[in-house]
């Protein structure tokens, strides 16, 4: 189970890294005559049941009003590998829509891959941020617990306060306090900061508990007796003891951040539509009637699910051992 989880996460990470090559098109390329086109199926057998090189049928619009498409069976299109710097293309400039198309006629697979990059980058940076802030605050509180108990108490009260608040409302309020329209880089940094702010408290509590135990261990006392400063003891000796805890927390926090980004972008408080992320892609699915008619708009949900599932498989084995 553990290896399945790790493999899942690795596969998504590779897909995100190799996104520009794997994606058949540019991020913003639109096919005006393919709005809401369904996902194409890659076929290996022709009409007569004979095997042949992988091919697809192009979509022919049969009902413009209802956006119904039919496969053009007359013309099998053999897929082209490694042409024009992309992994896979359909011949003759025919749009290849393996995940379908959205309301602008953009290829969902391309957006999915670029979206994975955005969502994972935000979540990874925020995870690093939350671990850093949590470790520093927890470490300081843990060290202070003996010398300055009231300082420790104060820090823990603040931690508790942030911990009990429902994270999504804190994020919404923080986001709403700044202009809604910002350049994409600013939004990226803002989201990282906001996620860090809601993510650190649990980590801080755990690190503090570990530091309080470890600081009484003989090796820590010995280091102190040998003249090491408090900071040195903390960073060189005590925090390594929290390594296992921090790794576990990273696996908990990362998928939660992916979901949080998706939620914020879904409700329009995250990235704008021009920046593909799994959240902005889900925005296309916010109209219930559209969603019911074109369920492939949920493909970013599959990405979110896979990340959370992979992380949960890792955690499940860790906890039952």
């Amino acid at each position: 189970m553990r290896s399945i989880g790790a493999a899942l996460l690795a596969a998504i990470a590779i897909a995100a890294l190799a996104g520009p090559v794997l994606a058949p098109y540019d991020r913003s390329q639109q096919f005006r005559d393919q709005l809401f086109a369904p996902p194409m199926r890659i076929r290996f057998f022709d009409e007569a049941g004979q095997p042949r090189a992988p091919f697809v049928y192009r979509w022919r619009l049969v009902d413009r009003l209802e956006r119904r498409y039919e496969e053009d069976r007359a013309q099998p299109l053999t897929l082209e590998w490694f042409s024009g710097g992309r992994l896979l293309q359909a011949p003759g400039g025919v749009p290849l829509l393996l995940f379908g198309a959205d309301s602008f006629g953009r290829d969902q697979l391309t957006r999915w891959l670029w979206g994975a990059r955005t969502s994972l980058a935000v979540a990874l940076l925020a995870t690093a941020g939350a671990l850093l802030v949590g470790t520093v605050i927890g470490g300081i509180a843990g060290l202070a617990s003996e010398a300055l108990p009231s300082f420790d108490e104060g820090l823990m009260r603040i931690t508790e306060l942030v911990l009990v608040l429902p994270a999504i409302y804190v994020m919404l309020a923080l986001r709403a306090a700044l202009p809604l329209v910002l350049p994409p880089t600013a939004i990226f940094l803002l989201l990282v900061v906001i996620l860090t702010l809601v993510g650190w408290p649990h980590i801080a509590r755990g690190v503090r508990a570990i530091v309080i135990v470890e600081v009484r261990e003989e090796y820590a006392i010995a280091a102190h007796a040998l003249g090491a400063t408090r900071t040195r003891v903390l960073f060189r000796h005590l925090l390594p003891a929290a390594g296992g805890f921090l790794r576990g927390q990273a696996v908990i926090v990362l998928p939660a951040f992916i979901v949080a980004e998706a939620t914020l972008s879904y409700v329009g408080f995250g990235f704008p539509d021009t920046v593909p992320s799994w959240g902005t892609m889900l925005q296309e699915a916010s109209n219930i009637t559209t969603l019911a008619q074109f369920p492939w708009l949920l493909s970013p949900a599959v990405g979110i699910f896979l990340v959370v599932f992979g992380a949960n498989l890792l955690l499940e084995t860790r906890e039952t051992r």
Binding site: P166, A173, A292, P295, A301
Partner: protein
């Protein structure tokens, strides 16, 4: 005995402080945000004098501190001001929507508990077998579907099968000729999709926690002793073991309250359930500062009441918990986010 009241007073003080801090910072944050309610109302076409009049009416022309002080004084008398967006008293609006959210959250919690706990006992009391593996796999799958995804999926399923209504709280049919039972069942019918969407991840969390606690307890010597005495297995399971294994479950309820409120936000947005989440969302978008503060007050009241209730239960079950402030449920981090 002197320990318990002191502990309770502290928790109560924390609860009051929580409500005050959260609603105050919500007001200040919303006030500091660029733009205000008038820019949303009039766009660029309004005359400056009309805008100024509107601002004065909303109390937006005065310095932040004066405005905040006045709001706080009124709030102490339970007057939360008037919504700038809906032109109705905030208290009234919030009460109405908070009830809907409470209905959704309590139903979801009931579904999650009634399904999750028995499944957890079943999975935790077996050391192998298909049932255990099946329940465990289902739970891990469901844990990987946060309420954003469950609500979207259920909406698609409900819309495509046309079995269940989606969107809103009741059908738009005219009310005349409907008895109150009919309208009640109409609401219950509309409640299914959002409540199940909210319940599924919580159910999985409860199942996993219960199963782990159960497996842990069954390894303890007192269980072995009961087996050795020849007590029937069902009795050991439900009389002896469950009683001990219930503690981590109760501890996690305090955190579930928070995650229910977080989860209900997105469920309400996706399924158009008219609850506190949607109200807060609209208020934030429209920069309706009094409504934002009122909603924040209601939300934090929910949280405070929920955690207090869970703590009380915990102390009743195990008085040692009152002394042990650092006691923490396993998996707590997962519930919090």
């Amino acid at each position: 005995m002197p320990d318990v009241p002191w502990w309770l007073i502290r928790r109560l003080a924390f609860a009051v402080l929580l409500v005050v801090i959260v609603s105050s910072s919500a007001l200040v944050l919303a006030r500091l945000a660029p733009g205000d309610v008038t820019s949303e109302f009039y766009g660029s076409g309004a005359s400056t004098s009309a805008l100024a009049r509107e601002r004065a009416l909303a109390g937006l022309d005065r310095p932040l501190l004066a405005q905040y002080g006045e709001w706080l004084l009124a709030a102490l008398r339970f007057d939360l001001g008037t919504s700038l967006l809906y032109r109705r008293p905030v208290g009234e609006l919030v009460r109405e929507r908070a009830f809907n959210t409470a209905l959704l959250a309590v139903t979801a919690l009931a579904i999650a508990t009634l399904a999750g706990i028995p499944l957890g006992v079943m999975a935790g009391s077996r050391s192998r077998g298909f049932l255990r593996a099946g329940i465990r796999l289902t739970s891990v799958l469901l844990l990987s579907l946060p309420s954003l995804l469950t609500s979207l999926l259920l909406v698609v399923v409900a819309a495509r099968t046309q079995l269940l209504p989606i969107g809103g709280m009741s059908s738009p049919t005219p009310l005349d000729g409907h008895t109150w039972i009919a309208s009640l069942s109409d609401v219950a019918w509309h409640l299914v999709v959002p409540a199940v969407a909210l319940a599924l991840p919580v159910m999985a969390l409860l199942e996993r926690t219960q199963a782990r606690a159960m497996a842990e307890v069954l390894r303890q010597p007192f269980v072995l002793a009961a087996v050795a005495r020849g007590a029937p297995p069902a009795r050991i399971l439900y009389r002896n073991a469950l009683r001990v294994a219930v503690r981590p479950i109760v501890a996690i309820y305090g955190l579930i309250v928070g995650s229910l409120l977080s989860g209900s936000f997105i469920v309400e947005v996706v399924t158009a359930w008219p609850g506190l989440g949607r109200l807060m969302y609209d208020a934030l978008r429209a920069r309706d500062i009094y409504l934002v503060a009122g909603g924040a007050a209601a939300g934090s009241l929910f949280i405070a009441a929920g955690t207090l209730f869970a703590d009380l239960m915990l102390v009743m079950l195990d008085p040692r918990a009152a002394l042990d402030r650092s006691a923490q449920a396993p998996g707590a981090g997962r519930a919090a986010l």
